[in-house]
Symmetry: none
Subunit: 550 residues, 2 copies
Amino acid sequence: MKRIQICDTTLRDGCQAEGISFSLAGKLRLAEELDRFGIDYIEGGYAVSNPKDMAFFRRVRRRPLTRAKVTAFGSTRRKATRVAEDANVMQLLAAETDVVTIFGKAWSLHVSDVLRTTAAENRKMIGETVRYLKEKGKEVIFDAEHFFDGYKDSPAFAMSALKAAIEAGADLVVLCDTNGGSLPKEVYDMTRAVRRAAPVPVGIHTHNDSELAVANTVEAVRAGAVHVQGTVNGYGERCGNCNLCSAIPVLQIKMGLACCKPGSLTELRNLALCVEELANVRHGKKAAFVGESAFAHKGGMHVDAIKKNPRSFEHIEPEAVGNQRRVLISEWSGSSNVLLKALDLGVRGLNKSSPKVRRILEELKKFEGKGYAYEAAEASFEILIQKVLKKHKPFFDLKQFKVFVEKRGKNRRCVSEATIKVRVNGEEAHTVGEGDGPVNALDNALRKALIRFYPEIADVRLTDFRVSILDPEEATAATTRVLVESTDGEDTWGTVGVSENIIEASWEALLDSVEYKLFREEGKRRGKRKGGDSHAPADRAARGPKTGAR
Amino acid sequence: MKRIQICDTTLRDGCQAEGISFSLAGKLRLAEELDRFGIDYIEGGYAVSNPKDMAFFRRVRRRPLTRAKVTAFGSTRRKATRVAEDANVMQLLAAETDVVTIFGKAWSLHVSDVLRTTAAENRKMIGETVRYLKEKGKEVIFDAEHFFDGYKDSPAFAMSALKAAIEAGADLVVLCDTNGGSLPKEVYDMTRAVRRAAPVPVGIHTHNDSELAVANTVEAVRAGAVHVQGTVNGYGERCGNCNLCSAIPVLQIKMGLACCKPGSLTELRNLALCVEELANVRHGKKAAFVGESAFAHKGGMHVDAIKKNPRSFEHIEPEAVGNQRRVLISEWSGSSNVLLKALDLGVRGLNKSSPKVRRILEELKKFEGKGYAYEAAEASFEILIQKVLKKHKPFFDLKQFKVFVEKRGKNRRCVSEATIKVRVNGEEAHTVGEGDGPVNALDNALRKALIRFYPEIADVRLTDFRVSILDPEEATAATTRVLVESTDGEDTWGTVGVSENIIEASWEALLDSVEYKLFREEGKRRGKRKGGDSHAPADRAARGPKTGAR
């Protein structure tokens, strides 16, 4: 099987993205993860004055990677300097990596307008720098910046930049679509032309400004490129770089090329999630291959078909990239969705034509018609099923709540306070809470009221709160949907509420959240008393975060 | 210039996305926006049992679109039914659209494993349904579901499905990469084969499961497809559909093909933002062309180069798609905008480097850092400028407001009440209002308090109310942004408020809305007294809705 080298530049080009930066510890951890995954080259950062990147190179030498080569990134010498005295080139050596990547200009516009020098000097800057680094014993990767724009403008100019690097001994030349504006056909044709002329291996580096980065990489590989540069999750300046989480499975599964090490593909989703955590950004749910929605089925017909044959609506097996199939509950749902979900929840003895399944579906459609949405609120959906099956048990009785918000004078902060009266097993609790806003105050009051009856409530806190105005044209009389995510440290669950009144909508979501926690705890206790197999509710909860959390 | 038809399916396939659903009002509004943008076909929804979609078809007939044709989506007749008695087909007719889109199977796996019928019956299902709809006078679009997977499996099978539709009179056949697993080269080759064989125009419908949807669309068009289906922002099941916000500018700017109507491309970013708001999802900042980061430059070298020649790091002019260049770390490169706006407000003697312009920019940056957003709230931005220039005049003094929400018993509705005390010219007003929710009650109380001092307030009503939780992970203590749109029947203006407390955020937006109305009225009165040219403020307001309403 033909092998394609993968070069990850998350630590360099990825950090050019708006909002992305890694701590030094994060960079080191990420390098280890990339190494474990089987990435061939890790572009660790700029070998320039950036102290964090230089510290990374120093530290990574002390933690040997098993397989990946670390490469330091920098530019050719500057114009009209001697290479052995050029500060940039000295920094590249100071990084003490076995491999260095230098970029040089392959577009005359950059040479004339940005560098403000001649084509001949540009070629010298490239050639002398490559030769010098080769003499120092380095493996040298030459990134031909703006290659495709340069080639469109003048094939001779772009090729002469490559030639300068190759003649000086570059081990690999990388064709860069730096501005991300090239089309797949152009990339294919130009890469092919280079492959025919160049006696060294060719690499590809694309950007996503036209949403074509993965396609341009695929086409370059088809034209003979053997080295692919990109970033995990596609982070990168502007619209991002070629997303390795898409490019790797396309190359491997769809084009039959070997990337990384055998078997690592099933770790792809984990890698994506890990990098997301290190970067502290929320991952695109709908990311190809690794996103939470990538194998999520919503339409009733689709769900029905998937049950008959998963290939019918899945282009690959989700497990091949470490992902999993999900069935969403929505107004589009057919009885197949509901049935799968009910089974998932441990409800036995149902089939597609059970009157109970039909009733659940009817209720679901009724509530969704009112504005409820259960995709991110599986806990509320469970409570809905319990209600339809007459298995729902209220844990307390709301007598009343009152919420107050007050502002005294235009420069004073608003204060919020809530009181609540509930009845549990014939006993009454009447409490007051305050908070940053009215819902926060109500949540605090509810918690205070319930805690002496249900101490397990103490562990629960809200981790997410989202508000949608469903028909904003109705202005403040519009229907409001509130989605709440709660956690008790172990599990995470989502609930929903809908009302014209935002406080009431929030109350519904809070109520479902508390009830869900309490019936799950009750299930666990029952399970323990019986011993035996009643782990079911806990299992279910444990699956919660994966399938329903957001 | 060759024309490519655009068919938007945001209202149908887009709603299959996890977390995307539109209210009926939202669907109607979106159809109007798509029409204004110059989309050729709007696939409005499923003509099946979903009551919201059927209501959409009913309502959209009453609001004629200027250009776009609305199409209803549904399947062929089911197996072993008579077409004239098939419930699905009847629903398609009940939608009463001039155009219908039906999908049929082009992959034998689906026919055998999902439909569980024969190839011959599948062809009949397609042919009879198309013929029947043509007899009813419809323009018929045939979506060949799974065409590419079907063709890879058996070219003869896939082509026979197309042939059945064409022979029965289909006006257009659309090749669908339903599972999103095809590669650009495959799509090109197969589309070319169809173009050679088919006597009707060919369309393309791709999904993004391999992050190749836009590329596959581009390749199909290169092979001769003349009709492109996709969604705004790429919403759609699993990883989404072909993103029209990328496909349209690629086709138009890079391939020289005409899409939509002349000049609409500069509205592309507005369209993307509007759909995002209607769907109440946060747009991908790094979206190609329309994302906030798409022309944002972070690296120092890049910023320097951009200053020398923007082409050096921008593949197109940002303005071509209604976007703008940003330089990160420093403020938005918008001093020209600020300048224009200040001139608009009648502030004279400023230029781009005036200290006042710099101060406005600094304030803007400070407030944006806190979560304020002025794109949809130009009225608040004008008030901000007045404050910086010390030209702001409060029309009343807030002494206090109080908001109460109460629920008595779990089955009783919440009631909301607000009291407010304000002082105007030394006189005090203390009023109470009620409403569907707390903000509605507060708005009513405020109006009652001010009306005897400012009768013109009677005309103002809120037409839009949106809530965004900016850091939802902070749960109910998160920062909340409220956007309000108001109208007095003539003009429409947007305002914004931000606070941890949703009531306070709403108050800020209400306050700005009232102040904006009052200073505008004052300006008009002054204008009348003076006579002369002082229509300026009214003009300004009239421009509001276009630039600021959303």
